[in-house]
Assembly symmetry: C2
Homo-oligomer: 347 residues x 2
């Protein structure tokens, strides 16, 4: 659903746009909670308060926080609302934790159309249902026009770690096999196509999705997974460099084995961007012992989100912790850690 | 310490100001973490990852989230860094929970002087030490110049609820006594004095502080405390209205019994502001059974932060849940729930 198709159900006090008082803690703040947030996220038990009580069944928890500042707020395949939920759910999944609860902090810019906020919140609620997480606490601040960009969202997630889980970014060892769960660069190119007004033969859609179920299946099938990581900001190149540095090994990848959608590849060529550096929001990198690589690949491919999964390389002995790529022509090149992100405001 | 006195210890790659790549997830992001955040917040056990594992001793948790957008970033008595820690610690304390862990999400504006960020982070670290909380996970995004305001911070807190705690905003009952832990309006007037360039005979300082210890002492002395709430955005008037509405009772206050610092009162008069609506960042409202009111008052007054604590009114039978104030002249007026905050960007 796009913002244009959307009809706002709450003509609150005749304010069609966010005003400063929506963040003031008074009646307008209360109305925003009552008419926008509670209908989407559900009502807490008992009265609303500044904190929410939880009773958790296990004692080993994982916690992750992430702010989202993507521009534009809406893009093919999703919105800042989807990203804000899936991004934090995925960060928890990469540590082997099952996300249970999310908090949501909004920084709204004066003038944001209320119907856009309603739509973002609906996207968050849908993504939360799909990932089986509850949004349990929230906060809204409003900044003056020209001091924000419509909507920024912070989500913080709490998940439960399996007692036996021993995934870690420092656990890759020479001989291990590196997999990617699907095509790379889709999210970054979906955003760029909108920003640059590019049209291709097919619309490039963001891959934003919760990876929680796929991770669960993978860990069931291959309990010895060494590293899980989602290649978001900085793309696959950054993720592989982080793994190599933390694990004190090298990583060798075969560039032609990395799945890239043809339209995404064309877009990257037109814009002079490298798919290896392009952000993903629904993909994971897994490092597994060689003996479990085939099983891991098949498990990923059986999930809808992993149909294009591929083995893309392996960890090797290298005291310099370099990531090297073998090209289609047989040459080798170093894949450096980028200084920054090639595209700002991608998530 | 003010920003001017501060000398930045990290001339990182010769960038004295925040650039977009500091939020890109690549090398500059890593340097920000290594040179700014880790020295202040301490290094986690094991490698840095997108989520942090916790082992908690109890199963009943409280969770709270809050974003901070105060302008200016530095003011007499504190900074956005102090507020970001104390605000969330206090929200947890008001539910009867002891804050244990905080996450910190930064949205930085391109061009923010790095030394200001270092100072904000130092303030957060000091406030966290004082409140005995650990900052366990973080995230940094950078937005282009003109799309932020230097620095926005979200903190999310996890605390442990005492098993017997039964505080709730809906638990005030007719006959209960209402207390405030000290003078009101200090924070709002400290901010306003800076914004308006006002000078008084004495500098008005924000009251930003962790209320955790005072709450602990109060609950030890008066285990039947009904309601705890910190009157931040919207001030005392908003808090009392929220309590009255949630508890389905009225509240009658005696205006002359509410402590207001003389300089703050003058500032309010000059600016045409009502202290009852002015934000506080280190005060609490407590509603207690009448039999424990004197004990509660003495307990608050024994804490440095509560020396000016006072009994300011009581809950009464009122099906309309009104807050009424008796003035010095004996007349009664309704204290309405404000529509919004009289001052934007106060926290």
């Amino acid at each position: 659903m796009t913002a244009k198709q959307f009809s706002c159900p709450v003509p609150m006090r005749d304010y069609p746009n966010i005003v400063l008082s929506h963040g003031g803690g008074g009646r307008l703040s209360a109305e925003l909670i009552e008419h926008v947030f509670l209908p989407a996220f559900g009502k807490a038990d008992g009265p609303l308060a500044d904190s929410t009580a939880l009773t958790l069944p296990a004692q080993r928890l994982a916690v992750s926080t992430d702010s989202f500042v993507v521009q534009p707020l809406f893009f093919p395949g999703g919105s800042i609302g989807d990203l804000a939920v899936n991004g934090t759910v995925n960060d928890l999944a990469m540590s082997g934790a099952r996300a249970m609860y999310l908090t949501a902090g909004f920084i709204l810019e004066e003038g944001l159309p209320l119907e856009q906020l309603v739509e973002i919140v609906a996207d968050m609620a849908r993504a939360a249902r799909q990932a089986s997480v509850s949004i349990i606490a929230g906060d809204t601040k409003v900044v003056e026009r020209g001091h924000g960009d419509g909507c920024y969202i912070n989500t913080t997630g709490i998940g439960i770690l399996a007692p036996t889980c021993s995934i870690g970014i420092d656990r890759a060892a020479p001989g291990d096999v590196v997999l990617i769960s699907g095509t790379i660069g889709d999210h970054a190119m979906a955003i760029m196509s909108v920003r640059e007004g590019l049209e291709f033969e097919a619309t490039i859609r963001s891959d934003t999705a919760s990876l929680a179920t796929m991770v669960h299946e993978l860990l069931q099938a291959c309990p010895d997974v060494r590293v899980l990581r989602d290649p978001t900001r900085g793309g696959l190149a950054t993720t592989l460099n982080e793994i190599a540095m933390a694990s004190k090994c090298g990583i060798e990848i075969v560039e032609s084995d990395i799945p890239v959608d043809n339209v995404v590849r064309s877009a990257c060529e037109i814009l002079g961007l490298d798919p290896l550096l392009a952000a993903n929001e629904g993909k994971l990198v897994a490092v597994v012992p060689a003996a479990q690589a085939q099983r891991a690949l098949e498990t990923l491919q059986q999930n809808d989100l992993g149909r294009s999964a591929a083995i893309i390389g392996r960890a090797i002995d290298d005291q310099h912790s370099l990531v090297v790529s073998r090209t289609m022509f047989g040459s080798r090149r170093i894949v450096p850690m980028p200084i920054g992100e090639q595209l700002p405001r991608i998530c």
